[in-house]
């Protein structure tokens, strides 16, 4: 793959790297476009009717998460999706689509309703990340996300997840575990925001495009990795340019999947869902254990160290192959 080769030989093909980076960054920008159709916009265009439900029954109602019932081509479904705003005012009200724990708990409540009343679930994923502030931590954002992921993995009803915009990390996955995962063409999916990744691994948020490329966060890349199952092409310049056409295309795919999944017996569906996630991740398995142990040093070596001024003057660990001094997994910049 081009990215792969480019990534491995930085500098050897500067122009091509640059092009690949800007192409990837363009995707990220499209995924974040403020005019991109949101969960409720898409539902309004593809459903015959929509009933939104509110509140987590414990703390409050989170406007960053929209949940409820909808009828799509005769299928009664429960829907769940993050909801960003169409303008600044709405974005403030909806916290830029970043749910707090109560948002995920509302989603779980509706998922359980769906299970009890035999409704398949369709989720729309569009989130920069779950809200990362202190209130969120105090109310247990990690717990809400983990519970939601666990619940979706065993829910006895078909689940279709659609990444419509930003698939931002755990806050996305919490409503994106499904029997089939679909993405719009310009949607992105990543383990951390490209800015966050760049800040940590490149020590500079300016390298966000580089990080986006390295993480292979485009829908096509995610399809190749097996994280998503289908990509739905967007019309013209992108979904923001034509909401109706985007919804029309998505609707056809969702209806097709509802028909298909509805025919699979539940136990089979649940097994397949478990296996879908069970098999994700790349590793090898060798029969023999260890990598060579770090070389052990005896008392004599350590005494010599004590007496060796050069050692003392380094003023830090990390010199030499002492068993304590694991080389920094990452070299100093």
């Amino acid at each position: 793959m081009v990215d792969r080769l480019l990534g491995r030989r930085p500098g050897s093909t500067d122009d091509a790297t640059h092009d690949a980076k800007s192409a990837m960054w363009n995707r990220v920008q499209l995924a974040r476009n403020i005019r991109r159709p949101r969960t409720l916009d898409l539902l309004a265009l593809m459903a015959d009717d929509v009933v939104e439900l509110h509140g987590d029954r414990a703390f409050g109602d989170d406007a960053a998460m929209a949940c409820g019932f909808a009828r799509i081509d005769g299928h009664r479904v429960a829907f769940i999706g993050q909801q960003k705003g169409a303008d600044t005012e709405e974005n403030i009200r909806r916290n830029f689509g970043m749910p707090h724990p109560e948002g995920y708990r509302k989603a779980m409540r509706v998922m359980e309703l769906a299970e009890r009343f035999g409704l398949p679930i369709v989720t729309f994923v569009d989130v920069p990340g779950a809200h990362p502030g202190p209130e969120s931590e105090e109310r247990g954002i990690a717990e809400a996300i983990a519970r939601s992921i666990g619940l979706m993995s065993r829910l006895r009803t078909p689940i279709i997840a659609v990444i419509t915009g930003e698939g931002g990390s755990g806050g996305a996955l919490a409503v994106a575990v499904g029997d089939v995962v679909i993405a719009l063409e310009n949607a992105v999916y990543s383990v951390i925001s490209p800015e966050g990744c760049a800040a940590i691994l490149w020590r500079s948020a300016d390298e966000a495009a580089t990080a986006a490329l390295a993480m292979r966060m485009s829908a096509d890349d995610q399809l190749a990795l097996g994280v998503i199952d289908r990509v739905v092409p967007e019309p013209g310049e992108g979904a923001h340019a034509d909401h109706a056409e985007t919804a029309r295309r998505l609707r056809a795919v969702i209806v097709g999947e509802l028909d298909r999944l509805g025919r699979i017996p539940l136990p089979e569906l649940l097994d397949a869902r478990y296996r879908r996630y069970r098999t994700l991740g790349a590793y090898t398995e060798t029969a023999t254990p260890p990598v060579p142990p770090p070389s052990s040093r005896g008392l004599g070596d350590r005494l010599r160290d004590l007496l060796d001024p050069a050692r003392w003057l380094t003023g830090k660990t990390g010199s030499g192959p002492s068993r304590r001094d694991e080389p920094a997994a990452r070299e100093e910049e």
């Binding site: 793959m1 502030g133 694991e326």
Partner: protein
């Protein structure tokens, strides 16, 4: 017993860092050997330093009871990920340094006679970050626990999902949570122990889902790393934010447990959660935990010195938020009580964060 030094050397060099570690909490200079012998707990203030996987197993399991499983699992660079260095190079360096293939070790063992499936993490391996191998080991541990109806114990020490494995690392959240749901449905108990740090995607998956959640004092535990927060919100963080006691106060941790009580606490809990496993005797008929001469002496010593309890040891008010950068200096570590866990391969360095080991920093995943 510091050795007198020639006066022409600067004072700070009096303590070669592979021999001495400064306690981030009370600033006491600690001789590494002593620290290792005291389960890496500061004898002066009780600060809990990070433990290697091997030392953790030695601390929790009965002598020679550990049988390692899946030691041969190794991550593959599915993305062709390169930041400043290719991912395979980082893996190789971490393997050389730790003697581990990845950041988790799993197997079976006995805790005070109770058979358990156990998986422990090692922060020293790329910040304990979770990629396919960690996810796989946790999942297999849960699956074995389910198949053999063994209680599951997982000890977390991780900055979160491993960025170098991209969304495949994120998918480990789904993999592990799915396996734990099956365990839960089958009524097999799971005890989660969170040590410093347990953040990001590890906290937001298996670590938080224990039937009983335990944490070590002052461990950094949270979802979002400081940088993610800094980029998103501009807000003062409350004191003690994302520390074990903060999580306890907000209801997400059952008990904050001193490292030296951990083994007996788990054994006690197992007596409630696994009735009739053959070791379910009344507590008075058995010691709280087996006496280990060294541990016993050091714990005696500790009782003589007043425990100052957790102090703010981190540079930032929120403790650097998430992952490898948090927790300040920790010095090097290797396991204490060699020979105890038996099949655990070789000796390893425990978490030894520096300002620059960042791979394990919490993603918000």
């Amino acid at each position: 017993m510091p050795i007198k030094l020639p006066s022409f050397r600067p004072r700070k060099d009096a303590y070669p860092p592979d021999l001495w570690t400064k306690c981030p909490s009370c600033s006491e200079m600690l001789f590494n050997k002593q620290l290792d012998k005291s389960d890496r707990i500061c004898p002066t203030c009780g600060h809990h330093f990070r433990l290697s996987a091997e030392a953790r197993l030695a601390l929790l399991l009965d002598d020679r009871s550990f049988r390692e499983e899946d030691a041969g699992l190794q991550s593959v660079d599915a993305l062709g990920f390169v930041d400043q260095k290719p991912y395979p190079d980082r893996l190789a360096a971490a393997q050389m340094a730790t003697g581990l293939r990845d950041a988790a070790v799993r197997g079976t063992g006995l805790i005070d006679g109770h058979p358990v499936a156990i998986c422990v993490m090692d922060f020293g391996f790329m910040g304990g970050s979770m990629g396919a191998v960690v996810g796989e080991k946790v999942t297999r541990a849960a699956e074995q626990a389910l198949a053999d109806r063994l209680p599951l114990v997982i000890v977390s020490a991780s900055g979160g999902a491993r960025m170098q494995e991209g969304t495949l690392a994120l998918m480990q959240l789904a993999k592990t949570c799915g396996a734990l749901e099956r365990l839960r449905a089958a009524g097999v108990p799971y005890i989660s122990v969170m040590s410093d740090p347990t953040t990001g995607g590890v906290f937001a998956s298996y670590a938080v889902l224990g039937d009983v959640n335990l944490a070590e004092p002052n461990a950094l535990i949270g979802f979002a790393g400081a940088r993610v927060q800094a980029g998103t919100i501009a807000q003062e963080l409350p004191p003690g934010f994302q520390r074990a006691e903060f999580l306890f106060d907000h209801g997400f941790i059952d008990r904050v447990v001193h490292r030296r009580e951990l083994r007996s606490e788990i054994a006690l809990l197992l007596r409630y959660l696994v009735p009739g496993d053959g070791v379910d005797e009344p507590p008075e008929s058995r010691p709280g935990f087996t006496i280990d001469p060294i541990g016993f002496l050091t714990s005696l010593a500790e009782k003589v010195v007043p425990d100052l309890g957790p102090l703010d040891d981190a540079p930032a008010p929120n403790g650097g938020g998430g992952g490898a950068e948090a927790g300040a200096a920790n010095g090097s570590a290797r396991s204490t009580r060699l020979g105890r866990p038996s099949t655990a391969p070789t000796r390893r360095a425990a978490g030894r964060p520096r300002a620059t080991t960042v791979e394990g920093e919490a993603t918000d995943g």
